[in-house]
Symmetry: C2
Subunit: 356 residues, 2 copies
């Protein structure tokens, strides 16, 4: 018998596009606080960059008192901190919007969590100093290429307001799960911005620039902006903090089950404080019950596992819904706020099952 017969079935990444590479984590099949690197979702705007040895240093310049270029080795020797947190693509769940919107058709797996270690950016900026006219801090990655609707080659650039950049948990990371960051996730250096959608956590960091104005690049003012109207640009606002959200991992949508006892398992997360409560409904939203939450305390940014034991005898169809609440008083809405580019989807999660 060949060896495949001995190995347990395993899930893989779910491909959305190959060039650039965009692949989901198989979120329904992993129930781990630290996602192994091979399962971390991959999200790229451009081909993977070509990096050479000069990659290993990181210049901080612009509106600083003393521009400094930090080598990779210098950063490794500085005081560090590690954070267990989810990175979530702001387009996660985009395929669920109705009317549908264009862009990568992510289902629920454009999110992954693990342990990032690095140096607080505020420590680095305390060494360079910041001039009083600083407004934002600009991060440029080594990744670049063409974007539909633009003629020129663009590099991936994103800015943060100074206060967010100076938060002590905004780190220049060099490790993921205790190893150097995997190349596809930003090796050698990646900024990690807790609580914000992951477009802010620029990979393959090339430079950091303190700027005296609000950055207007295409990934700041064209993409990663909520456009609530299809035709006009009224009431736009930038994509920043992760919305309160949840998924039901098991059972799967439109699964057929036997009568009996089944676990209903899921994850909940938020960029606003922590998850306080998750409720599920087994009757299409007419009544709701609390579920057991796990992993609440150790890591303040971590997602929360939840579980419910469902005893079901009566054959038929059931709609199971989950709704998470966070400590900032937010709850998942019944209908997500539609926006033209499909960011921040967080409606109540729903699966339909049939008991046979």
């Amino acid at each position: 018998m060949n060896k495949e017969s001995k190995t347990l079935p395993k899930p893989y990444l779910l491909v959305r596009s190959l060039f650039p590479e965009n692949q989901e984590m198989p979120v329904h099949f992993l129930r781990l606080p630290k996602i192994p690197k091979e399962y971390f979702f991959r999200r790229n705007h451009f081909p993977y960059p070509e990096l050479s040895q000069d990659t290993y240093s990181l210049p901080i310049n612009g509106e600083v008192l003393t521009p400094i270029t930090f080598t990779y080795e210098e950063l490794l020797k500085m005081p560090s901190k590690s954070l267990v947190l989810p990175l979530e693509c702001s387009g996660n769940k985009r395929s669920y919007f109705r009317p549908r919107v264009h862009g990568e058709q992510w289902e629920s797996g454009a999110i992954s969590q693990g342990e990032w270690r690095g140096v607080s950016l505020c420590n680095l900026l305390s060494l360079t100093g910041i001039k009083p006219d600083a407004v934002e801090i600009l991060f440029e990655g080594y990744d670049k290429g063409k974007k539909p609707g633009y003629d020129k080659v663009l590099s991936f650039q994103r800015s943060l307001p100074v206060p967010k950049a100076l938060h002590p948990d905004t780190i220049i990371a060099y490790e993921y799960n205790g190893e150097p960051i995997p190349f596809k996730h930003g090796y050698p250096l990646r900024i990690i911005v807790p609580n914000w959608y992951a477009m802010a956590s620029v990979k393959w960091l090339r430079s950091i620039t303190v700027i005296p104005y609000k950055f207007q690049g295409p990934f700041q003012t064209d993409d990663y902006v909520y456009y609530p109207n299809k035709e006009e640009a009224a009431n736009v606002r930038p994509v920043t903090t992760i919305n309160v959200n949840s998924v039901i991992q098991q059972p799967l949508d439109y699964q057929i089950l036997s009568a009996g006892v089944h676990n209903i398992d899921g994850i909940a997360w938020t960029g606003h404080g922590k998850i306080l409560k998750v409720e599920i409904s087994l009757d299409e939203g007419r009544s709701w019950s609390g579920v057991n939450l796990y992993n609440q305390s150790q890591h303040p940014y971590s997602w929360t596992f939840w579980s419910y034991t469902w005893k079901v005898d009566k054959k038929g169809e059931y709609t199971i819904m989950s709704r998470a609440y966070d400590s900032d008083g937010r709850a998942q809405p019944n209908v997500a706020e539609w926006n033209k580019k499909g960011y921040g989807y967080n409606a109540v999660y729903s699966v339909n099952v049939k008991i046979e």
Copy 2:
């Protein structure tokens, strides 16, 4: 730089369930006449079977003149033939039915094609002889387990009418793409039934029995039956021959593209003769154009690659549709014939893209 940076992005199987293992081929990202074994879709009703050495022989009994048990080695020495053909799960594209139906939520990748080599079943049956009262031939696999709604442990059993079983291209296969059949795809022996949906191509063959009646097992008369009505069992008919069908591989649904020239690529296939024509529409079905077909002649059962060069200058949304026609006069319908268990979906394939 670690070695990941040197490797091209690649797709993986798309998990639908792990126990039993059901995973799709990434159909949009492979354009190959013979799908490598690691990309072949996996479809199981039960856990993988435990096989021991006695696996290597195949008894043929029942309404035969001389029951014979063929050893694996004997089969390898007999005259063989190889066939390049797609195996398609009858539930392929089930997730596209509206109203939705329960069961594995396959998108378009529950299909894979490759080269199967084996011995014509009719050669084996010419050695055993068949009694005149034979009606069907029953195939049992080693896989077994529980099924929702049934109390007892069931094994996977399917029958064929005698004429289909005796077709010279119905083979007892022992090789896939020139190697022993991968365990997950039926090692050591699998029947391959050209033109029928793949539930007929029983894996891990344990026995073949000639029977004087129509088999009534649950995978013959409960599953793999078209039920056109949700509530009553009127007008039911068994799932047999593959419907004429196509997919658009590229572009992807809801993809954003630049103005310019794009290839529209796809595959078409049928269980009724061969693909004669594929048309595409770029205006939501108002007008249709022929496309170039490839790989038509060598293998009579093979799927057909097709391609179209699309020059598009005007920004906006476009709906691209594909419709295949076969030599038996069938064409993909605008709306697939709804059935309760979700088999045989073959509506015109449609993707929406946005030019920016």
